[in-house]
């Protein structure tokens, strides 16, 4: 971060307060509606896992079959929660880093409203049997222009903020946000046009679908998540990032590799064989940018990791960062034929997708939300206990899901690979793990109920009205920042 930002003069404080006031309503709108969607998504995840374990349960109601619950769960998780939480974080970070006030709050909220209504129609449609079995893009064809337009309004406002920014160095978070805002409409439009509106190659619509899924991860979830982590970590640790050069290299390496991924989901699929091969290679090379991020974060945090004990934002962000690195390694491994013959098309696929969407992206977003909301509402989180509850239940459950799904994948994939055996062995071997999946989603639902409750309290301005942030393991007012709580000498406070 530049020198100028660290000088917390009275004028700066006033300016920041004005920016926070200007983004208050759009950001809160996106956060609260996202949290509502998240609760629904986790309930749907629970229900779909239960249906896998007990297929005849609730049989009278056709919309409660796994094939409809699961896509409704993923769509509400991605479009309802993840992307909207991302919008909120993007808007706040962009305004803060560019030092500009948001002038079009009403437009942003309108776009957000359209987005919510469209996602609602889409999820209900998929849930009640009007989906198209194209993972993550299975809303009925008539809905995508509406999502596209409301996204364009949000992305356009972000870009305008970037153009209006005050002179000064551009921080890596701004680059990530700008890039994510720019890339998504292209991916989304390409995928929808090819899948829904052209009568071309049937097999390529499946290929484009897989490409869309991975592009959504690497061109959107990863940049937005990293933009937040690159802001939160140095801010709370109280020192600049370890290497700006490394951050830059990581950014461009990700940008160059991301577009080539996707076909690795269909290794050995009915495509010209260079296509899955090049995607697999891109996924393996992706270890470079991910490693760059790891080195940078570790270098920034090292020696001050005790701050994680007190600061909820840092805790969630670091957990997300660890998951991100593990994901990079595991997905690279699974791009080798020896591994993919076992893990491809098994529960491990689901485990990896949940790992990046929930383990990395959502956890980083929670970290950002715990940081941002007190600053725009001028009150502090009501209960540190509930934050702890949210963190531990989410992290235990997410580790459970990822680990169990990978083991389930190995068991199931092993049974399928044993070609002379009964196929039902694969089903039988998966059953126990599916029960764990259901329990984990139930735990996450509980954790998110606590999160939603706290967020609504903040929304209505019923938070704690003291100076001094809500810190884990400290009573209110005991320490004025995580740095003070951890006993580090601070010249400038973390609160800014």
């Amino acid at each position: 971060m530049s020198e100028a930002m660290q000088e917390a003069s009275a004028q700066d404080v006033q300016e920041r307060a004005a920016i926070d006031r200007s983004v208050r309503f759009p950001v809160l709108f996106f956060f609260t509606s996202a949290a509502g969607w998240l609760f629904l998504a986790t309930l749907l995840g629970f229900a779909s896992a239960v249906k896998l374990a007990a297929p005849e349960l609730w049989d009278v109601c056709p919309t409660l079959s796994y094939g409809q619950l699961f896509p409704a769960h993923m769509d509400s998780l991605i479009y309802g929660w993840a992307m909207q939480a991302g919008f909120g974080v993007m808007i706040w970070l962009m305004a803060r880093l560019c030092r500009v006030e948001v002038k079009n709050a009403v437009t942003l909220i309108t776009a957000g409203f359209v987005w919510n209504v469209t996602v609602l129609i889409g999820v209900v449609a998929v849930w009640s049997g009007y989906g198209n079995s194209m993972p993550w893009i299975d809303f009925p064809a008539y809905l995508w222009p509406s999502l596209f337009l409301s996204y364009a309004v949000i992305a356009g406002s972000l870009m305008m903020m970037f153009r209006r920014r005050r002179e000064g160095d551009v921080y890596v978070s701004q680059k990530y946000i700008f890039a994510a805002a720019l890339w998504f409409p292209w991916i989304y439009a390409t995928a929808n046009l090819i899948i829904n509106h052209t009568g071309g190659s049937a097999v390529m619509s499946a290929g484009v679908n897989a490409w869309f899924m991975n592009n959504l991860i690497y061109f959107w979830f990863v940049p937005v998540g990293l933009s937040s982590a690159y802001y939160i970590i140095p801010k709370i640790v109280g020192r600049p990032i370890y290497s700006y050069q490394l951050a830059k290299i990581g950014f461009w390496a990700l940008a160059i590799l991301a577009g080539w991924t996707g076909f690795n989901r269909f290794l050995g699929g009915p495509f010209p064989s260079w296509m899955p091969a090049i995607s697999g290679a891109a996924i393996i090379l992706m270890i470079l940018p991910i490693g760059a991020v790891a080195v940078n974060f570790l270098g920034t945090i090292s020696g001050r990791s005790s701050l994680m004990r007190y600061s909820p934002s840092l805790r969630f962000t670091v957990f997300g960062g660890i998951m991100f690195n593990l994901y990079g390694l595991l997905i690279a491994f699974s791009s080798y034929f020896e591994v993919s013959r076992l893990l491809q098309f098994t529960f491990a696929t689901l485990g990896f997708d949940i790992m990046i969407i929930y383990g990395f992206f959502s956890m980083v977003m929670f970290g950002a939300i715990y940081f941002i909301v007190p600053r725009i509402t001028n009150c502090e989180w009501p209960s540190a206990k509930l934050i702890r509850f949210h963190f531990w239940y989410s992290s235990y459950a997410i580790i459970t899901i990822v680990a169990f799904m990978i083991f389930a994948g190995l068991a199931q994939g092993g049974a399928i690979d044993d070609w002379s055996g009964d196929f039902l062995d694969a089903v039988r071997r998966g059953k126990g793990y599916v029960v764990a999946l259901a329990i984990a989603w139930a735990l996450i639902s509980m954790a998110n109920l606590a999160f939603y409750y706290q967020l609504l309290m903040m929304f209505f301005g019923w938070g704690r009205k003291t100076d001094g942030p809500t810190l884990i393991h400290k009573n209110p007012g005991e320490a004025e920042s995580a740095e003070a709580a951890a006993g580090f000498a601070t010249e400038e406070t973390a609160k800014a």
């Binding site: 896998l52 297929p55 005849e56 049989d59 056709p62 079959s65 796994y66 094939g67 409809q68 699961f70 896509p71 049997g129 009007y130 198209n132 079995s133 194209m134 993972p135 160095d169 680059k175 890039a179 720019l182 292209w186 090819i194 899948i195 009568g199 071309g200 190659s201 049937a202 097999v203 390529m204 619509s205 499946a206 490409w211 461009w252 940008a255 991301a258 577009g259 080539w260 290794l267 050995g268 699929g269 009915p270 495509f271 010209p272 296509m275 034929f337 993919s340 013959r341 491809q344 098309f345 098994t346 529960f347 399928i416 690979d417 070609w419 002379s420 196929f423 039902l424 089903v427 039988r428």
Partner: protein, 228 residues
């Protein structure tokens, strides 16, 4: 940075557009213009003049139902070559091994579909060649109505919404033979709706084992499957 800004935008655009063109647009155009290839006489294929043979949209409805029920989330339609998995060796998956027809799936196999339902996970069987494994319509109907009628351990959802329970008049020919705990009360029968029939049509059309024009006999595969 003001000067760098156009370079920044250009970089972002290039990073996106190059793979978009090379990985999506060009293959898409190429694969979209794939036409049926005629068999040569040396291919020795009976009753077919080209692959894939072109047929009308009778199964488009079936595919829509397959998609809307989310079947593709649990069933793949993709047989991997032997270097990427053991799919072809599993009995019936790669095709009709008895006639030496087992092979991995090829882009042409899906030419008659709207979308290729390659799938997301294999919670259930691969369906690329289900049409060659099972030819009896009643088998499909029982499976869809409640898969536990055939395998106690199956975790497939039951699609009772595709079937209609009606008072027994003259016994319908296509009524489901339900026994044991699945039987309906006396004086009623369960018959498939049009949707169920369309879906079964679609499943019966899943035969991706035809010999490709110019393809050599797949000795290795035939050997493995006859050894079973």
């Amino acid at each position: 940075m003001k000067k760098e800004f156009p370079r920044f935008i250009l970089g972002l655009a290039a990073a996106f557009i190059v793979p978009l063109l090379l990985l999506i647009v060009v293959p898409y155009l190429q694969l979209s213009s794939v036409e049926s290839v005629k068999y040569a006489e040396t291919d020795e294929v009976d009753n077919a003049w080209a692959y894939p043979s072109v047929w009308t949209g009778a199964n488009k409805d079936g595919e829509k139902i397959y998609a809307s029920l989310g079947c593709a989330y649990c069933h793949t339609q993709m047989i991997r070559p032997t270097y990427a998995g053991a799919d072809m060796w599993r009995k019936g998956w790669g095709g009709n091994e008895a006639d030496g027809l087992a092979r991995e799936t090829q882009p042409e196999d899906y030419n008659n579909d709207q979308h290729a339902m390659l799938g997301y996970m294999r919670i259930g069987q691969d369906l690329a060649n289900i049409g060659t494994r099972h030819t009896d319509r009643a088998w499909y109907h029982l499976k869809l109505y409640n898969a536990r009628t055939q395998n106690v351990d199956s975790n497939m959802p039951s699609y009772k919404l595709l079937y209609r329970k009606q008072p027994l008049g003259i016994k319908s020919e296509n009524a489901l033979k339900l026994e044991g705990r699945f039987a309906v009360e006396e004086g009623y029968e369960v018959i498939p709706t049009e949707k169920a029939e369309a879906l079964v049509d679609y499943l019966l059309s899943r035969k991706m084992d035809a010999k490709l024009p110019g393809q050599e006999k797949q000795e290795e595969v035939a050997e493995v499957s006859t050894a079973k």
